[in-house]
Amino acid sequence: MTPPSAQTLGLCLCHRCRLACSLATHPHHCPRCGDALHFRKPRAVSRTWALMLAALVLYAPANLLPIMHTQALQKDTSVTILSGVVELWQTGAWDIAVIIFVASIGVPVTKFLVLTLLLITVQRGNRRSRRERTLLYRALELIGYWSMLDVFVAALLSALVQFGLFGAIEPRIGILFFGLVVVLTMLATQSFDPRLIWDSPDHHDR
């Protein structure tokens, strides 16, 4: 027997100021901040889908286009994320290679997979392993910004390695796409409402 939800008790949490409002007295707006009241994040599923799909689309150029351009003594090289990882691994910096790989390939892919799983199970009203799914969501929120590591690496190197003729590193368009992917996945994670996992099929949005 599941405990009663806030909805059955006529309560609603304001999404802006987190005030638990009684729908009996304030059916539409939060009495504290005046924000519109929703039982759940409005259109959470479709928003998450949209943002996630956008991130997925941008993930392709982020991986295919070079993120950095290294110029050292007339020798010009452009690296994409994957070729950078391979190069690091080959030059012996396998620890950094692993970190970069996890941050830029592992994390985004995990996010896509987990979000898709959550969205589909929520849409289907699946009631199995709700607790684990919630934990997954919390983990997703936690690791989300780790992907920004790549962007920081590119930004730092570009700023630091500027030796003119002898060597210079410049960011390339790929890193912009990658940054967009990270931002979009984070937005997608945020727009998802984990409470939907616990809702019975007839209560979920849409």
Partner: protein
């Protein structure tokens, strides 16, 4: 449902539904897709052609790193470097940029830039640091292709350089090479771009490039000559030394000039020229069209070689091209056939004059003017003879001369084509030879045997005569000699007696001395007498007066 119930129930939310029921958030993936698609489209648009270039060696090319450059602008990148299936070549796969489509023309050229030292200095040093790259040169051909054969060395002339290309045909390449300079009045105006053997294999076709604006000096009448090396000539003026430039001495070169009476109109591009071996050969007037003549010689032509000159009154007008043997079944002899090329224009002004004054019967069988002229000469008695050029080496040359009254009728042999048959005559030298042979023949006819027999008989007789002389005459001679001997002895005795008579202290000699003294005195007194008589002729009558003696002595 009660009113309080109604109140406790949340009011109907004023849901503002959006048109089409779509959330604005969907714009995000749509924009992302549009951006992605536009990137894809851009990438597709930028993806130029992929080409394959084959090289002998990969040099310092690296896959996905080495660029392809044109005028130092990157127009593509090497995508892959691998061996061809037969391991004979290196196949470089390269991706060109979209805008580099012009570099896929059939005559586009690619070569690997690496450090090089040539006649023009050192080039490509920067590739030492940056690694090699492929340089490209767009072509002009309308045909496109995807596979190219890379050049092993950079082309000396790139497309779009103003100037003209000409073809120069030479017997051999000599010391020329790609990049050899072209000189005009000893100013470097171009270079040799490429060379290849002619399809026939007879000559080398050289592609030369003369850059603008100097290409206008090449006209249809321009002569090219090989200016390689040093020319040293010894003449009456002393020793001459001539060379185009130090570079041409080392690497060879081509020079050109236009004869003063040549055309001034610049030649078209790709005009073909002949490469003369020397400047003199190039600038001597054109020989004009050649006429092939054929001569049959009955005697041996040892000493006549191909290339021997053909003279007309001492002026060289052609050369022997072929000497072969023929068999005449009628006389069962092997006449020597000598073919020669003669250049009637080498006769000079006389030829023009001939053409103007002579009325030449061209005849019906499409023979050329010179052919007709030669036929006419033959009718007028033109003969060929092989003459000794050098008595020591025995070299022969062919001399053409008119033999008065020896004109022969021309047999127009249609099989002979343009060849004119010239009758031959015995050489003066051959005549001497014949006369010598004649003399020898006559000498051999002298009956030396009989003469010897006769002589032998005469000698026998002589011997007999001598024997008889010995036997008969000699004894009498001996007697006579003995008589003579006695006579001589007597004479000797007489002489001895005479000598004794006149000896220094002989009495005869003393007497002679006295006699002579007496004679002296006598003559003196005769003189005195004659003197006295001259002064005193009267003394003859009156006799000598004594007192007058004093007057005699003054």
């Amino acid at each position: 449902m009660t009113a309080s119930d109604k109140d406790s129930q949340p009011a109907e939310a004023d849901v503002r539904s959006r048109p089409l029921g779509l959330s604005l958030v969907w714009l995000v993936p749509i924009v992302a897709t549009i951006v992605g698609l536009s990137m894809l489209f851009k990438a597709w648009q930028e993806t130029g052609p992929t080409i394959r270039i084959s090289f002998q060696t990969a040099g310092s090319l690296t896959a996905e790193k080495s660029p392809i450059k044109y005028r130092n602008v990157v127009i593509g990148e090497v995508a892959d470097v691998k061996l061809s299936s037969d391991h004979g070549q290196v196949i470089v796969t390269a991706k060109l940029n979209r805008e580099a489509v012009d570099f896929t023309r059939q005559d586009s050229r690619y070569w690997v830039v690496r450090p090089r030292i040539g006649t023009e200095g050192i080039s490509g040093l920067d590739t030492l640091l940056s690694g090699g790259f492929i340089a490209a040169d767009p072509g002009t051909s309308a045909h496109r292709t995807e596979s190219f054969t890379g050049l092993e060395s950079p082309p000396p002339v790139t497309y779009g350089e103003p100037g003209k290309r000409f073809v120069v045909k030479a017997e051999d390449l000599g010391s020329l090479d790609i990049g050899s300079p072209i000189y005009y009045r000893k100013v470097r105006v171009g270079q040799l771009v490429s060379y290849e053997l002619d399809h026939s294999g007879d000559s080398v076709n050289m592609d030369v490039f003369v850059s603008a604006p100097n290409d206008r000096f090449v006209t249809a009448d321009t002569r090219f000559w090989n200016a390689s090396g040093i020319r040293i000539g010894v003449s009456a003026d002393g020793v001459e030394f001539d060379a185009e430039s130090l570079v041409s001495v080392v690497t060879g070169g081509i020079a050109f000039a236009t004869p003063p009476d040549g055309q001034a109109e610049p030649a078209e591009t790709d005009t073909s020229f002949r490469l003369y071996p020397t400047q003199e050969a190039a600038l001597t007037p054109d020989k004009g069209p050649a006429q092939i003549i054929r001569m049959h010689f009955g005697h041996s032509l040892r000493g006549l070689r191909e290339g021997a000159q053909v003279d007309f009154k001492g002026k060289k007008i052609g050369e022997v091209t072929e000497i072969s043997l023929d068999y005449d079944p009628v006389t069962e002899t092997f006449p020597v056939i000598v073919d020669a090329k003669v250049y009637p224009q080498l006769i000079g002004d006389a030829y023009d004059k001939l053409l103007r004054t002579q009325t030449i019967d061209v005849g019906d069988n499409q023979q050329s003017l010179t052919q007709a002229l030669f036929h006419q000469f033959v009718r007028q008695g033109l003969h060929a003879e092989a003459r000794q050029n050098n008595l020591l080496t025995g070299q022969l040359y062919v001399a053409l001369a008119f033999v008065p009254g020896a004109g022969t009728d021309v047999v127009a042999d249609k099989n002979a084509g343009a060849v004119v048959e010239i009758p031959t005559q015995f050489t003066s030298f051959d005549k001497i030879q014949d006369q010598l042979t004649d003399i020898v023949d006559r000498l051999s006819q002298i009956p030396f045997d009989r003469i010897a027999d006769n002589l032998n008989g005469s000698l026998e007789e002589l011997k007999q005569t001598l024997t008889s002389i010995n036997r008969d005459t000699l004894p009498s001679t001996r007697n006579t000699l003995q008589g003579i001997d006695i006579l001589v002895n007597e004479m000797s005795a007489t002489l001895q007696a005479a000598t004794a008579t006149f000896a220094y202290d002989s009495p005869e000699r003393q007497r002679i001395g006295h006699t002579l003294n007496e004679l002296e005195r006598m003559s003196r007194s005769v003189r005195d007498l004659s003197d006295y008589l001259r002064r005193h002729p009267e003394a003859l009558i009156r006799g000598r007066k004594e007192h007058n003696t004093g007057t005699l002595r003054p």
